[in-house]
Symmetry: C2
Subunit: 346 residues, 2 copies
DNA sequence: GTGAAAGCGCTAACAC
DNA sequence: GTGTTAGCGCTTTCAC
């Protein structure tokens, strides 16, 4: 394991200049004679030099690494820690977040360390990690509303940016979607299709995004003669969509339009409907939310409200980067607009 | 950003000892007087000391970080780089890998940096990253058979462990499943159900695992009077499962048992069958592979061949850790056994 | 424009 | 057992 290639010193000797000059060339600092610059480049080439990041970090106090943390609720037990990761990625949402984050970081030679914070110990790990300077800041995606991590990070004065507005105010930038507007789009679509018995399988009401989507949906529906739209609460999983729809049908057999708070639940809903012999969209129209991979994979393909997760995640990374580099001081929020994507299900 | 808490020096002063002693206590080296040990602990507590990892790495030449790299084929274009991440996680497989890896690393205060190597530039990034000493080694999960990354890592003499046996031999340890045996289990299940018209939707034949599963399946089938089992090649995605099954039904309308090379395709197969009015398992039995989340989510729940991905991933991490620490020298392979999980689909 | 030199905070010989 | 000391490889004043 004693892999340590040539150092600045070696390159300097080879090029017949000082360490400082090589460092300048490596870091693209101007004020270096073009000829010398070229000589150094060649020396680097010859020696196969690669800068040692630990040494650089030690002086720059920066790692070009950020923690990408998926943060759960209070107290998942230890046994489930590995299952947490699997369940998290069961929703295409997180894969998209990763993709968006990487698309921003990679061109800048920055990299994400993946962390899960589903227990108090795990949260402590995240704080320690950042305090040790192993990462310059955190990108936090919470799966629960009452996620305590943002507050902990704030107390420790560690840089972070959040996906979605935190339930209790913390001095961090965040990106979010106009969820209320998303709910409205779904309602309008169902109404435009002539739907007369609308209902919704909403997300966990503890999550603000769920409440907003629901509010927007009901808002428009109320304005069009549906003051009391039935809503059943789901948990953003396929299973919970199946459950919710089963209950919904039992209580309101004549629904003809359902707004699901995400695509995964919409998929479950379609499954239930098909099993009951109801055609989608002819008998019951279904509108999803997210426009994730399952929206296209679903039979029928889902009409859904698009959330530009990749762009949002990239923006989140950009904000963090700016905070870290001191280019941005005050917390900011960037809100994205949803968009209706029409496919077959509604 | 000038966050730098107290240093060893500060703690030493506070405790009235030398830096070395504090270092010993921090690193749990014995040969320290219990009383002094306690004094140091208190000083650490008082000062709120956290070791600076860059400084430590500089001397230990270790980062306690590993690269978890998902490696694609040769030449995905740049635009799709962010889509690659999303598509990768569309298969529950990778979430499970992450979970397994983290379950090993976390208790050891090690962490994974997520990297995607779907293009030549991206692969180069991975090499640079490791050469700079930003990670101690790589865990490589290839999505394609002809992944060039392992060879590149080997040439650079960087430590790595692979998920699945590489198509061309490289001097790295790897974990794998006895895929052939998995194929056999599937065949036996279908035969036990009295299936008389077996077929299979296999994985990409460029992938060795696909070939093995197919071989095991056909092997048993041949031995039981089915010398020529129809096989259609899929791509491990839900869509490809749908396509493959559609083609299969067109050519062999009287199949009554299908072995899908993964659960995602099995799900697609079930969808097609249901659309065609064929009942699963009564008209056509379906056996999946992996036992991932979709196996339970599928209607009907899938009978499938379990691949213990989490355990395999954890083992992969363990092997890498041992290589890094010099506790293991020669490349090793650890092969896991598949297991049939009986549910409703067959 | 370039070099000399002083650290960044830590670990690991080596003395005592 | 504990302290002293010499770096790890890099960036960055500060002279020249």
């Amino acid at each position: 394991m004693s892999r340590q290639g040539p150092t600045l010193e070696d390159v300097a000797r080879d090029a017949g200049v000082s360490r400082a000059t090589v460092s300048r060339v490596v870091n693209g600092v101007r004020n270096v004679d073009p000829a010398i610059q070229e000589a150094v480049r060649q020396a680097i080439e010859r020696t196969g030099y690669t800068p040692n990041r630990a040494a650089r970090s030690l002086v720059t106090r920066r790692t070009e690494t950020v923690a990408l943390v998926v943060s759960g609720a209070g107290d998942t037990s230890e046994e489930t820690q590995s299952a947490f990761a699997a369940s998290v990625f069961a929703d295409p949402f997180f894969g998209r977040v990763v993709g968006g984050v990487v698309s921003y970081l990679r061109p800048r030679s920055m990299h994400p360390v993946l962390m899960f914070a589903e227990s108090p110990e795990a949260r402590h790990e995240v704080l320690t990690y950042l305090r040790q300077g192993r990462a310059d800041g955190a990108l936090v995606v919470s799966t629960h509303a009452d996620d305590p991590l943002p507050a902990l990070l704030a107390d420790a004065r560690l840089p972070a940016v959040l996906f979605a507005r935190p339930s209790r105010p913390v001095p961090f930038s965040y990106v979010d979607l106009d969820h209320r507007d998303g709910g409205r789009l779904a309602a309008e679509r169902l109404l435009a299709r002539g739907c007369r018995g609308p209902a919704t399988v909403c997300g966990p009401l503890a999550v603000s995004a769920s409440r907003e989507r629901l509010a927007g949906f009901r808002d428009v529906m109320a304005r069009h003669g549906h003051p009391h739209v039935p809503a059943v609460e789901g948990g953003f999983t396929l299973d919970s969509g199946i459950d919710a729809m089963t209950r919904l049908l039992a209580e309101y057999p004549d629904v003809d339009g359902v707004f699901a708070a995400n695509d995964l639940m919409a998929q479950g809903i379609c499954q239930v409907l098909r099993e009951r012999g109801r055609r989608v969209p002819d008998d019951v129209a279904v509108v999803g939310f997210d426009d994730s991979g399952v929206a296209v994979a679903c039979r029928p393909p889902l009409t859904t409200v698009r959330q530009p997760v990749e762009r949002m995640a990239a923006e989140m990374a950009r904000l963090l980067d700016e905070h870290i580099r001191g280019e941005r001081d005050k917390p900011t929020s960037v809100i994205f607009d949803p968009e209706l994507v029409a496919r077959a299900s509604a």
